[in-house]
Subunit: 241 residues, 2 copies
DNA sequence: GCATATTTGTCCGTATGTATA
DNA sequence: CTATACATACGGACAAATATG
Protein backbone atom coordinates (compact mmCIF):
# COMPACT_ATOMS: atom_id res chain seq x y z
CA UNK A 1 0.00 0.00 0.00
CA UNK A 2 2.62 2.46 1.11
CA UNK A 3 4.75 1.63 -1.88
CA UNK A 4 1.88 2.31 -4.23
CA UNK A 5 1.21 5.64 -2.60
CA UNK A 6 4.80 6.64 -3.12
CA UNK A 7 4.71 5.63 -6.76
CA UNK A 8 1.58 7.62 -7.37
CA UNK A 9 3.09 10.64 -5.70
CA UNK A 10 6.04 10.37 -8.00
CA UNK A 11 3.71 10.11 -10.95
CA UNK A 12 1.91 13.24 -9.89
CA UNK A 13 5.16 15.15 -9.73
CA UNK A 14 6.11 13.84 -13.15
CA UNK A 15 2.83 14.63 -14.83
CA UNK A 16 3.70 18.14 -15.78
CA UNK A 17 6.88 16.94 -17.42
CA UNK A 18 5.09 14.19 -19.30
CA UNK A 19 1.91 15.78 -20.46
CA UNK A 20 -1.45 16.83 -19.21
CA UNK A 21 -1.93 20.20 -17.65
CA UNK A 22 -4.81 22.60 -18.22
CA UNK A 23 -2.47 25.34 -19.38
CA UNK A 24 -0.59 23.08 -21.77
CA UNK A 25 -2.97 22.57 -24.68
CA UNK A 26 -2.74 19.30 -26.52
CA UNK A 27 -3.30 18.68 -30.26
CA UNK A 28 -7.03 19.08 -30.83
CA UNK A 29 -7.17 15.95 -32.99
CA UNK A 30 -6.75 13.68 -29.99
CA UNK A 31 -9.57 12.88 -27.61
CA UNK A 32 -8.98 13.24 -23.90
CA UNK A 33 -9.28 9.51 -23.33
CA UNK A 34 -6.63 8.80 -25.94
CA UNK A 35 -4.38 11.43 -24.48
CA UNK A 36 -4.78 9.93 -21.03
CA UNK A 37 -3.92 6.54 -22.49
CA UNK A 38 -0.80 7.96 -24.14
CA UNK A 39 0.35 9.66 -20.94
CA UNK A 40 -0.16 6.57 -18.83
CA UNK A 41 1.39 4.35 -21.47
CA UNK A 42 4.54 6.41 -21.48
CA UNK A 43 4.65 6.52 -17.69
CA UNK A 44 4.36 2.74 -17.52
CA UNK A 45 6.92 2.08 -20.23
CA UNK A 46 9.37 4.52 -18.70
CA UNK A 47 9.12 2.64 -15.43
CA UNK A 48 7.47 5.52 -13.60
CA UNK A 49 4.78 3.12 -12.45
CA UNK A 50 6.31 -0.21 -11.43
CA UNK A 51 4.43 -3.47 -11.99
CA UNK A 52 1.83 -4.05 -9.30
CA UNK A 53 0.94 -0.38 -8.88
CA UNK A 54 -2.74 0.30 -8.57
CA UNK A 55 -4.25 3.26 -10.39
CA UNK A 56 -7.15 4.55 -8.29
CA UNK A 57 -9.75 6.35 -10.32
CA UNK A 58 -10.57 9.23 -8.03
CA UNK A 59 -7.03 10.18 -7.21
CA UNK A 60 -5.61 9.71 -10.68
CA UNK A 61 -8.54 11.61 -12.14
CA UNK A 62 -7.68 14.56 -9.89
CA UNK A 63 -4.01 14.38 -10.86
CA UNK A 64 -4.75 14.25 -14.56
CA UNK A 65 -7.61 16.72 -14.27
CA UNK A 66 -10.06 14.51 -16.08
CA UNK A 67 -13.37 13.11 -14.98
CA UNK A 68 -13.66 9.53 -13.82
CA UNK A 69 -15.67 8.61 -16.90
CA UNK A 70 -12.99 9.84 -19.25
CA UNK A 71 -10.26 8.20 -17.22
CA UNK A 72 -12.09 4.90 -17.40
CA UNK A 73 -12.28 5.16 -21.18
CA UNK A 74 -8.53 5.61 -21.21
CA UNK A 75 -8.15 2.56 -18.97
CA UNK A 76 -10.17 0.49 -21.42
CA UNK A 77 -7.88 1.50 -24.25
CA UNK A 78 -4.76 0.53 -22.34
CA UNK A 79 -6.02 -2.66 -20.76
CA UNK A 80 -6.72 -3.92 -24.20
CA UNK A 81 -3.09 -4.09 -25.16
CA UNK A 82 -1.83 -5.47 -21.92
CA UNK A 83 -0.38 -2.32 -20.44
CA UNK A 84 -2.99 -2.38 -17.67
CA UNK A 85 -4.92 -5.22 -16.12
CA UNK A 86 -8.48 -4.77 -15.00
CA UNK A 87 -9.65 -6.64 -11.92
CA UNK A 88 -13.38 -6.30 -11.72
CA UNK A 89 -14.52 -4.34 -8.68
CA UNK A 90 -10.92 -3.97 -7.58
CA UNK A 91 -9.48 -1.58 -10.12
CA UNK A 92 -6.71 -1.37 -12.67
CA UNK A 93 -3.08 -2.26 -12.04
CA UNK A 94 0.24 -2.20 -13.84
CA UNK A 95 0.65 -5.87 -14.77
CA UNK A 96 3.28 -8.15 -13.26
CA UNK A 97 4.52 -10.58 -15.88
CA UNK A 98 5.50 -14.11 -14.96
CA UNK A 99 7.46 -16.77 -16.85
CA UNK A 100 4.42 -17.91 -18.79
CA UNK A 101 3.74 -14.35 -19.94
CA UNK A 102 7.33 -14.01 -21.04
CA UNK A 103 7.25 -17.16 -23.12
CA UNK A 104 3.90 -16.20 -24.57
CA UNK A 105 5.23 -12.76 -25.42
CA UNK A 106 8.19 -14.19 -27.30
CA UNK A 107 6.03 -16.59 -29.28
CA UNK A 108 4.01 -13.65 -30.54
CA UNK A 109 6.99 -11.40 -30.98
CA UNK A 110 8.85 -14.00 -33.01
CA UNK A 111 5.84 -14.59 -35.24
CA UNK A 112 5.53 -10.88 -35.91
CA UNK A 113 9.17 -10.02 -36.52
CA UNK A 114 9.96 -13.14 -38.54
CA UNK A 115 6.72 -12.63 -40.42
CA UNK A 116 7.86 -9.17 -41.39
CA UNK A 117 11.19 -10.38 -42.72
CA UNK A 118 9.64 -13.28 -44.60
CA UNK A 119 7.14 -10.97 -46.29
CA UNK A 120 9.86 -8.57 -47.32
CA UNK A 121 11.13 -8.31 -50.84
CA UNK A 122 14.14 -6.19 -51.54
CA UNK A 123 14.84 -3.53 -48.93
CA UNK A 124 15.18 0.03 -50.03
CA UNK A 125 18.48 1.22 -48.50
CA UNK A 126 17.01 4.61 -47.65
CA UNK A 127 14.61 2.90 -45.29
CA UNK A 128 17.45 1.39 -43.30
CA UNK A 129 18.52 4.82 -42.10
CA UNK A 130 16.20 4.77 -39.11
CA UNK A 131 17.52 1.36 -38.12
CA UNK A 132 21.09 2.61 -38.36
CA UNK A 133 20.21 5.61 -36.23
CA UNK A 134 18.71 3.36 -33.59
CA UNK A 135 21.82 1.18 -33.58
CA UNK A 136 24.04 4.23 -33.22
CA UNK A 137 22.05 5.73 -30.38
CA UNK A 138 22.13 2.34 -28.66
CA UNK A 139 25.91 2.19 -28.97
CA UNK A 140 26.21 5.75 -27.78
CA UNK A 141 24.03 5.12 -24.73
CA UNK A 142 26.04 1.99 -23.95
CA UNK A 143 29.31 3.98 -24.01
CA UNK A 144 27.79 6.29 -21.42
CA UNK A 145 26.49 3.44 -19.33
CA UNK A 146 22.86 4.49 -19.77
CA UNK A 147 21.50 0.98 -19.94
CA UNK A 148 17.85 1.85 -19.70
CA UNK A 149 18.36 4.14 -22.66
CA UNK A 150 20.00 1.26 -24.50
CA UNK A 151 16.80 -0.65 -23.91
CA UNK A 152 14.73 2.17 -25.38
CA UNK A 153 16.93 2.32 -28.48
CA UNK A 154 16.60 -1.41 -28.85
CA UNK A 155 12.81 -1.24 -28.74
CA UNK A 156 12.87 1.56 -31.32
CA UNK A 157 15.06 -0.62 -33.50
CA UNK A 158 12.58 -3.46 -33.46
CA UNK A 159 9.63 -1.15 -33.98
CA UNK A 160 11.31 0.32 -37.04
CA UNK A 161 12.17 -3.16 -38.25
CA UNK A 162 8.49 -4.07 -38.10
CA UNK A 163 7.51 -0.87 -39.88
CA UNK A 164 9.50 -2.05 -42.91
CA UNK A 165 6.44 -4.18 -43.60
CA UNK A 166 4.36 -1.07 -44.38
CA UNK A 167 1.53 -2.82 -42.59
CA UNK A 168 -0.35 -0.67 -40.07
CA UNK A 169 -1.75 -3.73 -38.34
CA UNK A 170 1.65 -5.36 -37.97
CA UNK A 171 2.93 -2.10 -36.54
CA UNK A 172 0.06 -1.92 -34.09
CA UNK A 173 0.57 -5.46 -32.83
CA UNK A 174 4.29 -4.84 -32.79
CA UNK A 175 3.83 -1.77 -30.66
CA UNK A 176 1.72 -3.73 -28.21
CA UNK A 177 4.10 -6.66 -27.89
CA UNK A 178 7.16 -4.44 -27.62
CA UNK A 179 5.53 -2.35 -24.92
CA UNK A 180 4.79 -5.46 -22.91
CA UNK A 181 8.31 -6.75 -23.48
CA UNK A 182 9.65 -3.48 -22.17
CA UNK A 183 7.52 -3.99 -19.10
CA UNK A 184 9.16 -7.37 -18.56
CA UNK A 185 12.62 -5.86 -18.82
CA UNK A 186 11.76 -3.09 -16.42
CA UNK A 187 10.96 -5.44 -13.58
CA UNK A 188 14.47 -6.87 -13.76
CA UNK A 189 17.49 -5.29 -12.22
CA UNK A 190 20.27 -6.14 -14.66
CA UNK A 191 19.83 -3.83 -17.61
CA UNK A 192 23.44 -4.12 -18.68
CA UNK A 193 23.79 -7.86 -19.07
CA UNK A 194 20.36 -7.95 -20.63
CA UNK A 195 20.95 -5.35 -23.31
CA UNK A 196 24.68 -5.34 -24.00
CA UNK A 197 24.90 -8.52 -26.08
CA UNK A 198 22.29 -7.35 -28.54
CA UNK A 199 23.81 -4.06 -29.61
CA UNK A 200 26.24 -5.81 -31.93
CA UNK A 201 23.61 -8.21 -33.17
CA UNK A 202 21.37 -5.31 -34.16
CA UNK A 203 24.19 -3.86 -36.22
CA UNK A 204 24.76 -7.23 -37.83
CA UNK A 205 21.08 -7.42 -38.77
CA UNK A 206 21.20 -4.07 -40.48
CA UNK A 207 24.26 -5.26 -42.39
CA UNK A 208 22.45 -8.31 -43.72
CA UNK A 209 19.46 -6.25 -44.76
CA UNK A 210 21.68 -3.70 -46.49
CA UNK A 211 23.34 -6.56 -48.40
CA UNK A 212 19.89 -7.79 -49.43
CA UNK A 213 20.39 -11.05 -47.57
CA UNK A 214 16.92 -11.04 -46.08
CA UNK A 215 16.54 -14.80 -45.45
CA UNK A 216 19.87 -14.80 -43.67
CA UNK A 217 18.66 -11.91 -41.53
CA UNK A 218 15.48 -13.81 -40.72
CA UNK A 219 17.48 -16.82 -39.55
CA UNK A 220 19.74 -14.60 -37.47
CA UNK A 221 16.77 -12.82 -35.94
CA UNK A 222 15.21 -16.12 -34.98
CA UNK A 223 18.31 -17.10 -33.03
CA UNK A 224 18.51 -13.62 -31.58
CA UNK A 225 15.00 -13.80 -30.21
CA UNK A 226 15.56 -17.28 -28.85
CA UNK A 227 18.66 -16.14 -27.00
CA UNK A 228 16.95 -13.01 -25.69
CA UNK A 229 14.05 -15.06 -24.42
CA UNK A 230 16.27 -17.57 -22.67
CA UNK A 231 18.39 -14.91 -21.07
CA UNK A 232 15.33 -13.07 -19.85
CA UNK A 233 13.91 -16.25 -18.37
CA UNK A 234 17.20 -17.06 -16.65
CA UNK A 235 17.42 -13.59 -15.15
CA UNK A 236 13.86 -13.77 -13.95
CA UNK A 237 14.50 -17.09 -12.21
CA UNK A 238 17.67 -15.71 -10.70
CA UNK A 239 16.06 -12.58 -9.28
CA UNK A 240 12.88 -14.25 -8.09
CA UNK A 241 13.80 -17.54 -6.52
CA UNK B 1 -29.10 7.88 -43.38
CA UNK B 2 -32.25 5.97 -44.10
CA UNK B 3 -30.30 2.79 -44.62
CA UNK B 4 -28.59 3.20 -41.29
CA UNK B 5 -31.89 3.71 -39.54
CA UNK B 6 -33.21 0.52 -41.01
CA UNK B 7 -30.15 -1.42 -39.95
CA UNK B 8 -30.42 -0.16 -36.43
CA UNK B 9 -34.06 -1.11 -36.32
CA UNK B 10 -33.11 -4.59 -37.33
CA UNK B 11 -30.46 -4.65 -34.66
CA UNK B 12 -32.97 -3.64 -32.06
CA UNK B 13 -35.25 -6.46 -33.05
CA UNK B 14 -32.34 -8.88 -32.92
CA UNK B 15 -31.04 -7.77 -29.58
CA UNK B 16 -33.21 -10.08 -27.56
CA UNK B 17 -32.03 -13.04 -29.58
CA UNK B 18 -28.41 -12.05 -29.27
CA UNK B 19 -28.08 -11.04 -25.70
CA UNK B 20 -28.82 -8.10 -23.50
CA UNK B 21 -32.16 -7.80 -21.85
CA UNK B 22 -32.90 -6.79 -18.26
CA UNK B 23 -34.69 -10.07 -17.58
CA UNK B 24 -31.93 -12.19 -19.11
CA UNK B 25 -29.14 -12.14 -16.53
CA UNK B 26 -25.61 -12.43 -17.83
CA UNK B 27 -22.62 -14.11 -16.16
CA UNK B 28 -21.77 -11.91 -13.20
CA UNK B 29 -18.04 -12.09 -13.92
CA UNK B 30 -18.37 -9.89 -16.98
CA UNK B 31 -18.63 -6.13 -16.75
CA UNK B 32 -21.40 -4.40 -18.65
CA UNK B 33 -18.94 -2.71 -20.98
CA UNK B 34 -17.37 -6.05 -21.90
CA UNK B 35 -20.77 -7.56 -22.42
CA UNK B 36 -21.78 -4.71 -24.66
CA UNK B 37 -18.58 -5.22 -26.63
CA UNK B 38 -19.31 -8.93 -26.98
CA UNK B 39 -22.88 -8.32 -28.14
CA UNK B 40 -21.86 -5.72 -30.69
CA UNK B 41 -18.91 -7.81 -31.84
CA UNK B 42 -21.19 -10.73 -32.58
CA UNK B 43 -23.74 -8.51 -34.31
CA UNK B 44 -21.03 -7.07 -36.54
CA UNK B 45 -19.45 -10.43 -37.35
CA UNK B 46 -22.83 -11.99 -38.10
CA UNK B 47 -23.49 -9.22 -40.58
CA UNK B 48 -26.36 -7.74 -38.58
CA UNK B 49 -24.68 -4.37 -38.89
CA UNK B 50 -23.32 -3.84 -42.40
CA UNK B 51 -20.10 -1.87 -42.95
CA UNK B 52 -20.77 1.85 -42.87
CA UNK B 53 -23.49 1.69 -40.25
CA UNK B 54 -23.27 4.37 -37.61
CA UNK B 55 -23.88 3.45 -33.98
CA UNK B 56 -25.40 6.53 -32.29
CA UNK B 57 -24.79 6.59 -28.57
CA UNK B 58 -28.18 7.75 -27.36
CA UNK B 59 -30.26 5.42 -29.43
CA UNK B 60 -28.07 2.36 -29.05
CA UNK B 61 -27.81 3.01 -25.34
CA UNK B 62 -31.58 2.93 -25.10
CA UNK B 63 -31.75 -0.28 -27.13
CA UNK B 64 -29.13 -2.04 -25.06
CA UNK B 65 -30.46 -0.54 -21.82
CA UNK B 66 -27.08 0.77 -20.76
CA UNK B 67 -25.93 4.28 -20.02
CA UNK B 68 -24.01 6.23 -22.58
CA UNK B 69 -20.90 6.14 -20.39
CA UNK B 70 -20.89 2.37 -20.29
CA UNK B 71 -21.62 2.15 -23.99
CA UNK B 72 -18.67 4.38 -24.72
CA UNK B 73 -16.41 2.12 -22.69
CA UNK B 74 -17.60 -0.77 -24.83
CA UNK B 75 -16.90 1.26 -27.97
CA UNK B 76 -13.35 1.84 -26.83
CA UNK B 77 -12.80 -1.87 -26.40
CA UNK B 78 -14.09 -2.69 -29.87
CA UNK B 79 -12.52 0.16 -31.75
CA UNK B 80 -9.19 -1.04 -30.50
CA UNK B 81 -9.32 -4.25 -32.46
CA UNK B 82 -10.72 -2.80 -35.62
CA UNK B 83 -14.33 -3.90 -35.29
CA UNK B 84 -15.42 -0.28 -34.96
CA UNK B 85 -13.87 2.91 -36.23
CA UNK B 86 -14.03 6.08 -34.22
CA UNK B 87 -14.40 9.38 -36.06
CA UNK B 88 -13.83 12.13 -33.60
CA UNK B 89 -16.95 14.23 -32.97
CA UNK B 90 -18.83 12.17 -35.52
CA UNK B 91 -19.23 8.86 -33.77
CA UNK B 92 -18.43 5.20 -34.24
CA UNK B 93 -19.10 3.21 -37.40
CA UNK B 94 -18.79 -0.33 -38.64
CA UNK B 95 -15.62 -0.14 -40.74
CA UNK B 96 -15.57 -0.47 -44.51
CA UNK B 97 -12.44 -2.31 -45.57
CA UNK B 98 -10.68 -1.42 -48.79
CA UNK B 99 -8.01 -3.22 -50.78
CA UNK B 100 -5.20 -1.88 -48.66
CA UNK B 101 -6.90 -3.13 -45.51
CA UNK B 102 -7.33 -6.54 -47.06
CA UNK B 103 -3.67 -6.84 -47.98
CA UNK B 104 -2.65 -5.57 -44.59
CA UNK B 105 -4.94 -8.07 -42.93
CA UNK B 106 -3.41 -10.97 -44.82
CA UNK B 107 0.13 -9.91 -44.00
CA UNK B 108 -0.74 -10.06 -40.32
CA UNK B 109 -2.83 -13.19 -40.63
CA UNK B 110 -0.07 -15.01 -42.47
CA UNK B 111 2.50 -14.02 -39.89
CA UNK B 112 0.29 -15.31 -37.08
CA UNK B 113 -0.81 -18.58 -38.60
CA UNK B 114 2.57 -19.47 -40.10
CA UNK B 115 4.18 -18.42 -36.84
CA UNK B 116 1.99 -20.88 -34.99
CA UNK B 117 2.94 -23.78 -37.25
CA UNK B 118 6.62 -22.91 -37.15
CA UNK B 119 6.62 -22.83 -33.37
CA UNK B 120 4.87 -26.16 -33.17
CA UNK B 121 6.66 -29.35 -32.19
CA UNK B 122 4.84 -32.62 -32.51
CA UNK B 123 1.05 -32.30 -32.53
CA UNK B 124 -0.94 -34.29 -30.03
CA UNK B 125 -3.57 -36.12 -32.13
CA UNK B 126 -6.25 -35.53 -29.50
CA UNK B 127 -5.93 -31.83 -30.11
CA UNK B 128 -6.78 -32.22 -33.76
CA UNK B 129 -10.29 -33.28 -32.91
CA UNK B 130 -11.63 -29.73 -32.82
CA UNK B 131 -10.10 -29.07 -36.23
CA UNK B 132 -11.70 -32.20 -37.63
CA UNK B 133 -15.05 -31.13 -36.21
CA UNK B 134 -14.73 -27.74 -37.86
CA UNK B 135 -13.89 -29.37 -41.19
CA UNK B 136 -16.87 -31.68 -40.90
CA UNK B 137 -19.31 -28.93 -40.03
CA UNK B 138 -17.96 -26.93 -42.95
CA UNK B 139 -18.55 -29.83 -45.31
CA UNK B 140 -21.99 -30.39 -43.87
CA UNK B 141 -22.95 -26.73 -44.27
CA UNK B 142 -21.65 -26.79 -47.84
CA UNK B 143 -23.84 -29.79 -48.67
CA UNK B 144 -26.83 -27.80 -47.50
CA UNK B 145 -25.77 -24.72 -49.36
CA UNK B 146 -25.40 -22.64 -46.22
CA UNK B 147 -22.39 -20.70 -47.41
CA UNK B 148 -22.32 -18.14 -44.67
CA UNK B 149 -22.22 -21.01 -42.20
CA UNK B 150 -19.33 -22.48 -44.17
CA UNK B 151 -17.53 -19.21 -43.56
CA UNK B 152 -18.16 -19.44 -39.84
CA UNK B 153 -16.83 -23.00 -39.72
CA UNK B 154 -13.77 -21.87 -41.63
CA UNK B 155 -13.06 -19.09 -39.15
CA UNK B 156 -13.48 -21.55 -36.28
CA UNK B 157 -11.02 -23.83 -38.02
CA UNK B 158 -8.37 -21.16 -38.18
CA UNK B 159 -9.02 -20.00 -34.64
CA UNK B 160 -8.54 -23.54 -33.39
CA UNK B 161 -5.43 -23.87 -35.52
CA UNK B 162 -3.99 -20.84 -33.79
CA UNK B 163 -4.96 -22.14 -30.38
CA UNK B 164 -2.63 -25.11 -30.95
CA UNK B 165 0.09 -22.66 -29.99
CA UNK B 166 -1.18 -22.54 -26.40
CA UNK B 167 -0.37 -18.85 -26.49
CA UNK B 168 -3.12 -16.57 -25.15
CA UNK B 169 -1.66 -13.58 -26.94
CA UNK B 170 -1.50 -15.35 -30.28
CA UNK B 171 -5.09 -16.38 -29.77
CA UNK B 172 -6.11 -12.83 -28.96
CA UNK B 173 -4.46 -11.37 -32.05
CA UNK B 174 -5.83 -14.26 -34.05
CA UNK B 175 -9.32 -13.51 -32.87
CA UNK B 176 -8.93 -9.89 -33.88
CA UNK B 177 -7.57 -10.58 -37.33
CA UNK B 178 -10.09 -13.30 -38.05
CA UNK B 179 -12.96 -11.06 -36.97
CA UNK B 180 -11.77 -8.37 -39.35
CA UNK B 181 -11.32 -10.90 -42.12
CA UNK B 182 -14.87 -12.04 -41.56
CA UNK B 183 -15.93 -8.43 -41.95
CA UNK B 184 -14.20 -8.31 -45.31
CA UNK B 185 -15.97 -11.47 -46.47
CA UNK B 186 -19.34 -10.17 -45.35
CA UNK B 187 -19.23 -7.13 -47.58
CA UNK B 188 -18.91 -9.39 -50.61
CA UNK B 189 -21.79 -11.13 -52.30
CA UNK B 190 -20.27 -14.41 -53.43
CA UNK B 191 -19.96 -16.60 -50.37
CA UNK B 192 -19.94 -19.81 -52.37
CA UNK B 193 -17.04 -19.20 -54.71
CA UNK B 194 -15.15 -17.62 -51.84
CA UNK B 195 -15.49 -20.49 -49.39
CA UNK B 196 -15.93 -23.63 -51.44
CA UNK B 197 -12.34 -24.13 -52.59
CA UNK B 198 -11.00 -24.08 -49.04
CA UNK B 199 -13.07 -26.83 -47.51
CA UNK B 200 -10.91 -29.51 -49.05
CA UNK B 201 -7.72 -27.64 -48.27
CA UNK B 202 -8.68 -27.47 -44.62
CA UNK B 203 -9.09 -31.23 -44.57
CA UNK B 204 -5.72 -31.63 -46.25
CA UNK B 205 -4.10 -29.45 -43.60
CA UNK B 206 -5.50 -31.60 -40.81
CA UNK B 207 -4.15 -34.66 -42.60
CA UNK B 208 -0.62 -33.24 -42.72
CA UNK B 209 -0.75 -32.30 -39.06
CA UNK B 210 -2.04 -35.74 -38.11
CA UNK B 211 0.87 -37.28 -40.02
CA UNK B 212 3.26 -35.02 -38.14
CA UNK B 213 4.33 -33.27 -41.31
CA UNK B 214 4.20 -29.84 -39.77
CA UNK B 215 6.64 -28.05 -42.13
CA UNK B 216 4.70 -29.39 -45.09
CA UNK B 217 1.50 -28.06 -43.52
CA UNK B 218 3.14 -24.68 -43.04
CA UNK B 219 4.11 -24.53 -46.70
CA UNK B 220 0.62 -25.54 -47.74
CA UNK B 221 -0.95 -22.97 -45.47
CA UNK B 222 1.23 -20.26 -46.94
CA UNK B 223 -0.05 -21.02 -50.43
CA UNK B 224 -3.56 -21.33 -49.07
CA UNK B 225 -3.49 -17.85 -47.59
CA UNK B 226 -1.92 -16.40 -50.69
CA UNK B 227 -4.70 -17.86 -52.84
CA UNK B 228 -7.40 -16.73 -50.44
CA UNK B 229 -6.01 -13.23 -50.45
CA UNK B 230 -5.84 -13.04 -54.22
CA UNK B 231 -9.32 -14.39 -54.65
CA UNK B 232 -10.71 -11.93 -52.16
CA UNK B 233 -8.98 -9.05 -53.90
CA UNK B 234 -10.27 -10.16 -57.27
CA UNK B 235 -13.82 -10.42 -55.98
CA UNK B 236 -13.60 -7.02 -54.39
CA UNK B 237 -12.44 -5.45 -57.63
CA UNK B 238 -15.17 -7.23 -59.51
CA UNK B 239 -17.99 -6.12 -57.23
CA UNK B 240 -16.77 -2.57 -56.77
CA UNK B 241 -15.60 -1.29 -60.12
C1' DG C 1 -16.84 -13.66 11.43
C1' DC C 2 -18.82 -9.08 11.42
C1' DA C 3 -19.42 -4.17 10.77
C1' DT C 4 -17.59 -0.30 8.55
C1' DA C 5 -15.06 2.41 5.19
C1' DT C 6 -13.37 2.72 0.69
C1' DT C 7 -13.41 1.97 -4.12
C1' DT C 8 -15.42 0.60 -8.18
C1' DG C 9 -19.64 0.03 -11.34
C1' DT C 10 -23.25 2.28 -13.41
C1' DC C 11 -26.44 5.74 -14.26
C1' DC C 12 -28.19 10.49 -15.00
C1' DG C 13 -28.28 15.45 -16.18
C1' DT C 14 -26.02 19.12 -18.38
C1' DA C 15 -22.98 22.31 -20.77
C1' DT C 16 -19.96 22.71 -24.60
C1' DG C 17 -18.02 21.80 -29.02
C1' DT C 18 -18.20 19.96 -33.70
C1' DA C 19 -19.79 18.37 -38.16
C1' DT C 20 -23.39 18.30 -41.44
C1' DA C 21 -28.01 19.43 -43.63
C1' DC D 1 -25.06 30.86 -42.49
C1' DT D 2 -27.84 29.06 -39.09
C1' DA D 3 -29.88 25.35 -37.28
C1' DT D 4 -29.85 20.83 -35.61
C1' DA D 5 -28.24 16.60 -34.20
C1' DC D 6 -24.74 14.39 -32.18
C1' DA D 7 -20.43 13.52 -29.69
C1' DT D 8 -17.40 15.20 -25.90
C1' DA D 9 -16.59 15.87 -21.28
C1' DC D 10 -17.84 16.90 -16.70
C1' DG D 11 -19.82 16.27 -11.94
C1' DG D 12 -22.92 14.20 -8.89
C1' DA D 13 -25.46 10.29 -7.17
C1' DC D 14 -26.28 5.71 -5.56
C1' DA D 15 -25.66 0.63 -5.67
C1' DA D 16 -22.52 -3.13 -5.37
C1' DA D 17 -18.36 -5.27 -4.28
C1' DT D 18 -14.22 -5.28 -1.84
C1' DA D 19 -10.86 -4.10 1.65
C1' DT D 20 -10.07 -2.85 6.46
C1' DG D 21 -10.49 -2.80 11.41
Amino acid sequence: MTAERIDLDRLESELGRIGIRPDIPRPPRVSTAEHVAAVLSQAIIEGELPPGTQLPEERLGRSLQVSRNTLREGFRLLSHDGLLVHHRHRGVFVPELDEADLTDLYVLRTAIEIGVLRSLGRVDPSRLRQLEDDVRSGEEAARRGRWRQVGTANMDFHQHLISLSDSPRMMRVGRQVLAETRLAFLSLAQPRTLHEPFIGRNRALVGMLAADRVPEAAAALEGYLRDSHEQLLATLREERP
